[in-house]
């Protein structure tokens, strides 16, 4: 089986995010970069499928030179090879253009199944998997917490508000991963050593023949609005403090 896992390099969840004074983006200084946490579930699921059914896992990432580290991490977890789309024209581009770049790479890989995260924790957009599926003209099942494959089909569980859907899809398809799907493995030391020798193709936008003009641009970034400082309800008596809280919620905030 040909299995593809898309991975994006993102700031660590603990990272302090500072907007540049001109609002053109974030200040990348001092940021620790990691694999998008949802992509860890994707890589893990890809590896489990390969281990169960045979085949090969290819990692694809669009990003600047540093994104190579994230590809190597996935290779160290056990994937066979990688494709790194690296082009300044694609730095901080939009979901559509990213998906177009991924599609151009993935078409040539003749995949049976493609994994993406349900969203990247930097842009929080949650679109690339679906757009990729749309461009490739294949079905998608998004935000999946359980996956089975049998008889050339997949069966997935997708939680929605107040219910879960059981979805069956033909292959190839795109799956986007949600927490709960699996417990991602750590890269082992031998894995890390082996990963250094695994092949990674580097491509630019021109080689892929894609348009690089984003359709949705972040025209400006701003820090979040300040929250007014809160009130700590003073006192020693829990009952008195609770009464004051309820009074404030009722009379001041008017929320209960």
């Amino acid at each position: 089986m040909n299995i593809v896992a898309c991975v994006k390099q993102v700031p660590d969840t603990e990272a302090l995010i500072k907007v540049k004074p001109d609002g053109s983006g974030i200040d990348e200084g001092g940021i620790k970069w990691v694999m998008n946490p949802y992509d860890e579930y994707g890589v893990e699921e890809a590896l489990r499928l390969k281990e169960a059914k045979g085949g090969e896992v290819t990692i694809v990432s669009v990003g600047p030179a540093r994104a190579m580290e994230t590809i190597r991490t996935a290779l160290a977890m056990g994937a066979e090879k990688g494709v790194h789309v690296s082009d300044p024209l694609l730095d901080n581009t939009d979901a559509y253009t990213t998906a177009a770049a991924l599609a151009a790479v993935i078409k040539g890989l003749n995949p049976d199944i493609i994994f993406c995260g349900q969203r990247a924790i930097d842009d929080d957009s949650g679109q690339v998997g679906s757009i990729l599926a749309a461009i490739l003209g294949i079905p998608q099942v998004t935000i999946v917490t359980k996956l089975e494959m049998a008889d050339g089909k997949i069966k997935a569980i997708k939680p929605i508000e107040g219910a879960q859907l059981v979805i069956e899809s033909t292959l190839p398809c795109v799956i986007t991963t949600q927490k709960g799907l699996n417990e991602p493995r750590y890269a082992s030391l031998p894995g890390i050593m082996k990963a250094k020798k695994k092949p990674v193709d580097v491509k630019n936008a021109a080689a892929l023949g894609i348009a690089t003009e984003p359709k949705a641009k972040v025209a400006k970034m701003t820090p979040p609005p300040d929250r007014a400082p809160g009130k700590i309800i003073a006192g020693d008596d829990p009952a008195a403090k609770a009464a004051e809280l309820v009074r404030l919620l009722r009379e001041e905030a008017k929320v209960i």
Binding site: T13, I17, I26, P37, A95, Y96, D122, S125, G126, Q127, S130, I131, A133, A134, I138, P139, Q140, V141, T142, I143, T145, K155, P159, I160, E161, G162, A163, Q164, L165, V166, I167, S169, T170, C173, K179, K215, A216, K217, V218, A219, K220, M221, T222, P223, P224, G230, K231, I233, P238, A239, K241, A242, A243, L245, V246, L248, L249, A253, V255, I256
Partner: protein, 325 residues
């Protein structure tokens, strides 16, 4: 030229979901600024009767595709139907819900229509005739103003953020044939397993009472359930308590859980880790009950009580009972 503000209404089990009225109200506001119409799309089976309700919130026309193939939501059928009617009418703006199904549908549509989508927006504005969609990024650590150069300019709206406003318009029904058949559906919904517990959905709740590691164990949540019952609130949890197996994954609030925007979020025994704040900092009012005065949650809280939650929460419940009686 692309014209009109369009929206996709979300229905489930024969009723429109509240987020649909939020979107209609937001769409009306944009359309009034542009001097345009609001058109809604409703897809489903046996849903024609739902259309007039949208009129109440400012929708001029409702395009309805009503067929058995739409009985359960499927990306393939719903996206094909919306894409068809959108392509035929060329709207300037297309709004969807950033609910679980709305996210699936809107992102697929962005691909099919090859256009830009600003996802999970919390504010929409018009400047020079163009849509400016404001959305949290980096887990709410900053906001981006998104401008789309292609049409329709798509945005999905975070549930519970945009106010519902009545503003009666015709809500005239226009039926259309989406030309979708079962054979077009490659990813089929074969079963809908409803949550029979009658639990309120976190992303739609006006009030959330949430507990973390400070609850000490699954039994600890009983006091939160009681308070939540009185406040008609949903009960949430931190990742620490979900990972400990005290609460189901579906209760988790935060970066790898649900993003919620209730009017009131009461955090009990939650320290306020950055990944937890990512999921709840857009709540209108935040209350923190924590015995550690240094807990970061207090920096985000509108009201805080530094004390043992097992002493405070039952007293809060008593007080709420008093005012409700």
């Amino acid at each position: 030229m692309a014209k009109g503000v369009w929206m996709v209404a979300e229905q489930r089990d024969g009723a429109l979901r509240k987020v649909s009225f939020e979107i209609a109200s937001a769409a009306r506001k944009l359309a009034d600024e542009l001097g345009d119409e609001v058109c809604a799309v409703v897809i489903g089976s046996g849903v024609e009767g739902l259309a007039p309700e949208l009129g109440k919130y400012g929708v001029d026309k409702v395009y309805v595709a009503d067929a058995p193939v739409f009985a359960n939501y499927t990306t393939d059928a719903y996206a094909a139907a919306v894409a068809k009617v959108v392509k035929e009418n060329d709207p300037a703006i297309l709004l969807c819900a950033a609910s679980v199904l709305g996210k699936d549908l809107s992102s697929r549509l962005a691909g099919t229509l090859a256009t830009g989508l600003a996802a999970d927006c919390t504010e929409l504005k018009i400047a020079d005739g163009k849509l400016i969609a404001v959305r949290p990024m980096y887990a709410g650590k900053c906001f981006g103003q998104v401008v789309t150069s292609s049409f329709p300019q798509m945005a999905s709206l975070r549930p519970n953020v945009f106010p519902v406003k009545e503003n009666a318009k015709a809500g005239a029904v226009v039926k259309f044939d989406a030309g979708v058949s079962d054979a077009d559906v490659k990813a089929k919904t074969v079963e809908v397993q409803k949550d029979a517990s009658g639990k309120m959905e976190l992303t739609e709740a006006d009030v959330i009472v949430s507990g973390g590691r400070g609850m000490k164990g699954p039994e600890g949540y009983a006091i939160l359930e009681e308070l939540a019952g009185l406040l008609r609130a949903a009960v949430g949890a931190s990742r620490a308590s979900v990972d400990a197996g005290w609460r189901p994954q579906s209760d988790q609030v935060g970066q790898t859980g649900k993003v919620v925007s209730p009017n009131l979020y009461i955090a009990c025994g939650i320290s306020g880790a950055i990944q937890h704040l990512a999921g709840m900092s857009s709540s209108k009012y935040i209350v923190a009950i924590n015995k550690d005065a240094e807990a970061p949650i207090f920096a985000k809280a509108d009201y805080g009580i530094v004390d043992d939650l097992f002493k405070v929460v039952p007293e809060v419940t008593k007080e709420v009972k008093k005012i409700l009686s």
